[in-house]
């Protein structure tokens, strides 16, 4: 019945990277997910040793193959894989023998399941709590949590509105994880972080020679998200030319990579988020009205932290426990709690989390008092209702700073004092070197 099935169609239907290797451990077939993970086409790597293509930490990888080929048993092992974007991702490797009809051993099938999604969600839950219904007594948050199964059950576009740091990204990922697309990729695109020229290539991919420096094929995020979900953060910052191209993807489910006339069909669910008023952008002619209505099939707004004051103690408790990492949990005294409750938190839950992480470092495990909190909290301006940006130190000219900005300044000052020596700067800040590296990436320094 299936003897005429095209092998590539079969392999592409598996939601993980799959490679077929011969008994000499050379790659003989690879699906689309495998190409996305390795950044190589099958044509390039056919005949190359699987060790060099998969780049796993299971060393030597060939030892696992040998066990499979000799015992003809399936072996499953967790490890990690270095992908084309120089990211090390946790992965589960399942290697099974492949036999012909006559029982001859043809080789082995390697399935590489990317576990970074699961690990990310666990970490996100522990770290962020930005969107976590269990960490909320707020009726609006409870209502959103109740709607989650409905949002997850459909493929309709979803538009999430909310201020920065309210958890739009975590909510989008939670919807993806709860949907039938959960086993397929979840790709995040930050429209505000990439210049227009790069965004087009990142999103739609390009053919070799499409522009100067385009030496190899880039699949593009839309293609990588095939069968999964693509999340556009800050969609309001997407250039108009990109909006037109995205609209055609939404309408036709296909697009042409840069420098290619060949259409690529994709099946993706689109979730978009914005901290700007999209309707106003439409009126100003900065956002396409047709795209706005196309994205706005399902819509929800995440409340700011000011609108969920009742959650502040819960969130504080959660973050203190998390950042204490199993050590004795320091208590927050009532004065400090009062200051936090009075603060306007323009950076919302993310700002609260970052502030508590820093405060815990300063308090050195002792009880947290208001002296451990950032000074700008005690500025009278910080108590005013939110007007776009938070008050901060050194803002005599009226320009206010958020905690993120303050932290960025602290890092730059420390680096300046340490004359660029990161080890020294990390010591000055009281952080581990890895924390400094993470923060440097986070702040784009």
């Amino acid at each position: 019945m299936f003897q005429d099935v095209d092998l590539s169609v079969f392999l592409d239907g598996i939601p993980h990277a799959v490679l077929l290797v011969d008994p000499a451990l050379s790659v003989r077939a690879m699906n689309r997910q495998g190409e996305a993970m390795t950044g190589r086409s099958l044509k390039e790597v056919a005949g190359i040793g699987a060790d060099f293509v998969i780049r796993s930490n299971l060393r030597p990888f060939s030892r696992f193959f040998k066990a499979v080929l000799e015992d003809r048993q399936t072996v499953s092992q967790e490890g990690n894989v270095l992908d084309r974007n120089r990211k090390i991702a946790p992965a589960r490797f399942t290697i099974s023998p492949v036999e012909g009809r006559d029982g001859d051993l043809l080789g082995a099938m390697v399935v590489v399941e990317d576990l970074s999604h699961t690990a990310y969600l666990e970490e996100e839950r522990a770290h962020m709590g930005e969107f976590d219904a269990e960490l909320s007594l707020n009726p609006k948050m409870r209502e959103i949590a109740e709607k989650m199964p409905v949002f997850a059950a459909t493929d309709a576009s979803l538009l999430i509105e909310g201020e920065t740091g309210t958890g739009k990204g975590s909510l989008a990922e939670t919807v993806h994880k709860a949907s039938k697309r959960a086993g397929y990729p979840y790709i995040k695109v930050n429209c505000a972080a990439l210049p227009e020229s790069l965004l087009e290539s990142e999103l739609f991919g390009h053919a070799p020679g499409a522009f100067a420096g385009a030496e190899r094929v880039r699949q593009g995020m839309l293609r990588l998200a095939d069968h999964g979900t693509i999340f556009f953060n800050e969609i309001g910052d997407m250039p108009l030319s990109m909006q037109a191209k995205l609209l055609s993807v939404l309408d036709d489910g296909e697009f042409s990579p840069l420098g290619s006339t060949r259409k690529v069909a994709v099946d993706v669910r689109i979730i978009a988020a914005t901290s700007r008023d999209l309707k106003a952008l439409v009126e100003e002619g900065l956002f396409r009205e047709d795209l706005y209505y196309r994205l706005n099939v399902l819509r929800l707004r995440l409340p700011s932290l000011r609108e969920r004051q009742e959650d502040i103690p819960l969130l504080i408790d959660h973050f203190i426990r998390h950042f204490s990492k199993g050590a004795a949990t320091p208590q927050l005294d009532s004065e400090a709690l009062g200051e936090l409750k009075a603060y306007s938190f323009p950076g919302n839950v993310r700002e609260l989390r970052n502030m508590l992480e820093h405060t815990l470092i300063l308090s050195q495990g002792e009880s947290i008092t208001k002296e451990h909190l950032p000074e700008y909290l005690r500025s009278p301006e910080s108590l005013r209702p939110h007007a776009g940006v938070a008050p901060g130190p050194g803002n005599a000219g009226g320009k206010a700073l958020r905690w993120d900005d303050v932290e960025k300044e602290m890092i730059i000052d420390a680096l300046r004092e340490a004359r660029g020596k990161k080890n020294e700067a990390a010591k000055k800040l009281g952080w581990a070197r890895s924390t400094l590296y993470r923060k440097l990436r986070q702040h784009g320094i």
Binding site: L25, G49, D51, V53, R55, F61, R86, K87
Partner: protein, 117 residues
């Protein structure tokens, strides 16, 4: 130009952070005049290779896969990284000496080793 290559046997190691062996070679005017120097670590360490590259004033690090942290560190130290290369290191060295090696290259002699790093 001084080059460090993370290797496994005669091949470029698939992962810089998991390699235990490297060579350091000088390339001049399209040739590799001297026999490369072999280095062996007691355990895999990308950090150790980075320290070595800086200490030895290496100009180029040639490797298979390299993670973002080590790549950024080497770039920050103004060391060029040619990564994603698959194949025998001697062949890669020749191509590098003749300015013909590009990142992500799969060299004609890319062997099908039965045992990688």
């Amino acid at each position: 130009m001084k080059v460090l290559i993370a290797i496994t046997r005669d091949e470029i190691a698939p992962r810089f952070d998991l390699a235990v062996e490297a060579i350091i070679a000088e390339v001049t005017d399209g040739s590799v005049p001297d026999e490369p120097r072999h280095l062996l670590l007691s355990e895999p360490s990308g950090d150790e290779f980075c320290t070595l590259a800086v200490r030895e004033s290496v100009d180029v690090v040639l490797c298979g896969g390299i993670d973002e942290m080590h790549y950024d560190y080497l770039s920050w130290k103004k060391i060029s990284v040619v990564d994603g290369v698959i194949g025998p290191y001697a062949e890669a060295l020749e191509l590098l000496a003749n300015a013909k090696l590009k990142p992500d290259a799969i060299l004609p002699g890319a062997a099908n080793e039965e045992d990688g790093s």
